[in-house]
Symmetry: C2
Subunit: 193 residues, 2 copies
DNA sequence: TGTACATCAGTGAACGCGCGTTCACTGATGTAC
DNA sequence: TGTACATCAGTGAACGCGCGTTCACTGATGTAC
């Protein structure tokens, strides 16, 4: 039955949020449309009234995940604190609301162009955010702008790589935990954050 | 028709190698059994004479990929040279014979335990290899053993993270290339390799 | 403000395709004599 | 060494299931009068 425009808009958003979580937890191929719709409180038939295809939803979910993550990084949270949270077992064990880069990683290359584009934009924004925090963090003036850019990239790569490796080695609890803590301390001593 | 035991063993190996390449290129879900068998020069029906399931093959292929990669790193190739090769566009654009960690990354968590175990063992071995090269590379004595371990982990994470991000941002050629080069130079200046 | 009707968000059955897996069959291998 | 036969690697058709997508239908919404 028909539903008010407001309700329909809420449903639309609910589907995106359910997808953003499920896709991060299980990958784009690991969830089906019916399950996402159920999670959003609807039946699968309503899906194509909201999105033209599963890929279309994947793009929207990818964008939402990046937005949500970037907005969730409050201005008063320092890069150091952010890194502590990022490289935590808490984050490792809860990919659903976590970093989309770590969650989608190798998946993204097999997605349609539109999804890849959203991802790429998200990576750019993340990288800029880190570069600006690196600048604000009282780093020595001697460090030039270009070094800060490459440091930001290397830092981002180290973060994503650590999380990906920590998640994929969960069969060895000590190794997985060490990847996070070793990486955290090396970043601290090498990058000063 | 029946085939000599030698030939059958060759076939078995051919299937593993075809799978190791295809899985790295397209992910575990991105290739089907029939295509792998065709690549190995056989028909799909012969598959279950060699492996009990697609997952069984995935585990064998994962192990093979790590072995192949580790063996491919000759003793006379320094860590510095290895990093140059690893963080290259050549490697980025040819995942089939490339690093299994970067190729499987977020996929591995959705695979059966047996596959995850092979992956975890591979990561451990890779990490040890890097740690030993870090030690041999004329690093200052002042650096303690424990720091070397965490440096090796951070380095591995940075390598894998860079490759994963570079591959997933190919829609933006400059960004993708910058991720590799920025990361490479930051690693050089921060880790001295 | 109240009534009549067109709109359209949501439902659930059905379709079609891809893919992992099974199976009866084939014919070369390799062993027993 | 040669022959007869059991074995078994490989073939290709078929099965069954999951999933993305479609569609006829329902009934609440919201608009025209």
């Amino acid at each position: 039955m028909k539903v008010s425009k407001e309700k329909a808009a809420e449903h639309h958003q609910a589907v995106i949020e359910a997808a953003a979580m499920s896709f991060r937890e299980s990958g784009f191929e690991g969830v089906n449309v019916a399950d996402i719709m159920k999670k959003a409180g609807l039946t699968h038939g309503a899906f194509y009234g909201h999105f033209s295809s599963k890929s279309d939803l994947a793009a929207a979910a990818c964008r939402y995940a990046f937005d949500d993550r970037l907005n969730g990084w409050a201005d008063d949270v320092s890069l150091t604190d952010y890194l502590d949270r990022y490289l935590s077992t808490f984050h490792r064990d809860r990919p659903g609301r976590g970093c989309p880069m770590a969650a989608f990683a190798s998946d993204i290359g097999r997605q349609p162009k539109a999804v890849q584009k959203e991802f790429e934009v998200g990576v750019s924004r993340y990288r800029e955010r880190i570069a600006s925090r690196l600048a604000a963090g009282g780093a020595p003036k001697a460090i030039r702008q270009s070094d800060r850019q490459s440091d930001a990239t290397a830092l981002l790569a180290a973060m994503v790589g650590s999380m990906v490796l920590a998640r994929s080695t969960r069969s060895n609890r000590t190794l997985s935990a060490r990847i996070l803590s070793d990486s955290r301390s090396a970043i601290a001593s090498r990058f000063g954050v």
